[in-house]
Amino acid sequence: MAKCFALMGWSLPVIESMQKLGKPYVVVSFPDFEPYAAEHNIPFVPYQLDEWSDTSNSLDLVEKLKPYNADVAVPLYEETVEWAGALNSIYRNDPRVLNRAFLFRNKAIMKRKALIGGLRVGLFEEVYSKDGVKAFMRRLNEANLQLEGEEDSWVHIKPFASAGTVGHRLLKSMAQIDEECEDGDFPCLAESHLPGREFSCEAFIHKGKIRFLNITEYVKLGYSNFIPEGNFLETKRELIHKQVQKMVDIFGIEFGMVHPEWFLTENDELNFGETACRIPGGHILELCSKSYEFDALAAFVVSHDPNATEEELDAIFPPKGFKPKYYHGNVMIYPHKRQFSKLEIPEELNNDPYFTEHSLVPPYEGQKISGDRGGFGNHFGTINFKGEDPDRMTELLKHYQKVDFYV
């Protein structure tokens, strides 16, 4: 087992899991958190993670972590993936670990690597301007044999290195490119629209093999999901497992967790969207913990440790072939209106047998939502459900996503 885990980024739930696990750890994050950490006796190294300079670099950070005996770095957020990669390169004496971290942080390199390895991906290209996007769309139209008067092919653009859906735009026509694209969007990745049903999974990897695979059923991306996957995706579990292992092999991932997004077509083919290697949003690991009855956050951390023994891993992961008894789902609640004054929980929710708890907070007087939200923005709380029927779960999540709790 590792001598000490360096947790890259501030996350209270992860700190809680580490304290319960009883393994040594040290948190590396911005100096803002230092007083809080000191007050609560959390081992802490303040570091300016958004700066790369003579005084802020991985060699310097390694020195700062030496008193703690840190020997494994764990990225908790998208923005700390390179830092963890750099530290682990040093700890494992393998410079390619850092390069692999860059792979996760540049969606164009990621796609290229996937393509070379034989995963199905869409057409993609780095673009540097509106004209670049238009040229890309034109070539896509040609490839799709567009006739005069037919609609343009859909193009997605996304920043190379942002989490999830942050900065993602779907462009359906040439006109839309003019209207919506801003100079600040570039350079970025342009790609063709991938058909298929979208879902994500979380594969915990140790020594290059999938130790545990969780499949998350998206009911509505960014709003609601549940675990384990519903009946249909469950029938595809083997296919998905194979494909994820293939991706792990192609990318050469040895330790940690990957969180890839896939599109499953009607012909049972899996299109690769993208992958991340940090903790997914949407409280996914919380749901995963509840359904599979283990501490997924602790497992996430431990799977980064090359020295973890089989026994240590067995102790933390659910037993092989474990079947969850319940589906756990949640829906993240965003106000529908721009301005609202009250939180109203509908009676039918409280009476629903699947409802377990919520963390919604009332607004302050006359609260307004500002116009710009990155990705899906911050939700106002989640509502948790638990039950035995995935179809009923889907219905409930769909329904409550439409209910306006803030009036």
Partner: protein, 662 residues
Amino acid sequence: MEIASDRIFQNFEKSLEEFKESIELTKQEKAAKLASQVDILSQSRNGLVYLLQKIGELDRAGIFNNTVWSEPDKLIPLLVKGTLKVGHPTSSFEILSELRLLAFATGIEKSDKIAQKDAQSFLEEVMVHNLEFAHQDVSEETRLAMPVRELKKAFNLFGFIVSEIDLQGVYEKLAEEIRLICAQRPIMTRKARELIRLVNERFDTTGDSETDRSVRLYINAIYAPSEGARNNTSLKDYEYFLSESSVATLEREARAMGEHMNATGLVSGYHSLLLKKLVADYEDLVPVCLHLNDRGVAEWEKFHGLISTLINETVSPDNCQCIYGLARMLGKSLFSRRPVRVGLENLRKVKIHSMVEKRISKSLINKDADVTVLQYLIGGTIKVLGQHLGVGQGNNPTCQSARGISMWSQHAPAMLIDMIITVATQNDLIMRFENQDLTSNQLGKGLLEKLDYNLDVVSVVLVPHLDKIYNEMMKRSAYRGEDPHKWVNPAMYGQWVHVGFASCYDYPSNSIVDYAGFVKIFYAAFHPDFNGQHQMVYPNPVGIFLTTNKGVMVGLHAISLLRVDKNKKGEMRAYFLNPNNEGRQDWGQGIKPTVFGNGEKPGESSLPFYQFVARVYAFHYSALDVKSWLSLVPQEEIRKVEPLAKESWGKSYVWNQQTKLW
């Protein structure tokens, strides 16, 4: 009342377990989830019982750590209500805090911070400030501030506390509460009866203090209004007693019951048996039994045929309260009006629509098995006709409908009976607005989300329809650049309402325009010193700014200005009907409407004239008549009103000083 199911308890246990296992850092997040379970549990009585058992464990697990409730000895009873009004999760924590004190007060848990008797007196004081929750009958301000769900939590909590603690410390307060509620002679006596029952069960009232004597009057009015009733407590025994009694005994019984009813406005089940007995065998004693005035006696003599029929068909032990309404009807000579008599005859013969029947049944709690819904409806009609100022809106946002029922009862009683018949038989209502018929069943939702059935029978029948029609009229009058009430009030309430209309609120600019001019018109229209000593003829639908006891604006409310008159001390006062069930309010700046002691008739509220004006935002008046008086209104009066307005609700608006052509 709802019952919390096992599933809810299991979810709570799970969250509690997670809370206890969590490290200090994530406790807050886990506490928030736990609070969502408390929110659900506090919706039901057995949920509260369960939470009371768990409260020690919760407290020790640190649920109050780092919150304002952390030190039980430093809490302030006055703040409880405000905290409950904030809503979940604050209100859920507040409920836990009360339960913790309840556990200390009753000795279930021990605290080294607060003594048992201090916890007890804390809860007593909280009770006194929150009687409206204990009654489940809240002020307009509270109703506007709290969603139904939060109200239910507060009702449950206080119902539970009342049943669990020793109430000795709040005896005086409860006695005064009973007196002031009854002084307003509400049609719905449920709240008064509940309080009287509570005091009777929980206190020794046999002493000789003024409070004891006052309380005994009300207790007797319900439980022992006569010697015969005191000695024969079961209705069956009392009926037998009546059959064996001499005329002299019956007269003594009739006098005692009539006096109790007249003094309290409350009627007992015994009274119904006695009255029926007298109608059958000793007609001469009926006026005594009803405590009638001279006019009432004359009415009885002239129309005793119809009145006897109504008594025989309508009065029953559970439906007894209509006896008071009947006595008031007789006192107002309503039977001398032919349309009223015809209307009541018609009402006797109707077949009630099944949906209406359901609504009425839902509003009755201890329905007499052998009394039909129609009998209850006739009883309800008699009550509304007899006590037009006793109409209330219940916990419903329907002040406009209540105001209408009250006004028609007073000035168009036969029309009101007709309307009751139409709705009772058709479950539908048509009213005309600007040359178009509005049929309530074809209209969309009104202001009412879900009717609160703690309402009198007539309101239960009419309000769902009146509310929809009113709302439709409001919708059709919207976007005209002026307050829609200008057109809606005369159409809704009838020709008694003047078409002249003044509002100090200017819709297009969202500001208060020419307030001084507005106040001047109000004085010239209603103040006898400045309008040529003219008294008001009909009630005036007035819109007011409702403010908290700190003078902070909370919303708009509909009331009726009834009359303007001097009280005994020579103070000019405005007398009005507040369709909210409770006339006693505190609107801040020392503006506190009274219901008793300032010349109010039962059911009226009153305020010094200038204070009343300071809350008005719209009213109707005769634009022609008012002209000649405007110049007589002195500036001092306006200067008295303006600061009261500006420093309270006025802070919510921009004030535009330009003069307006009214």
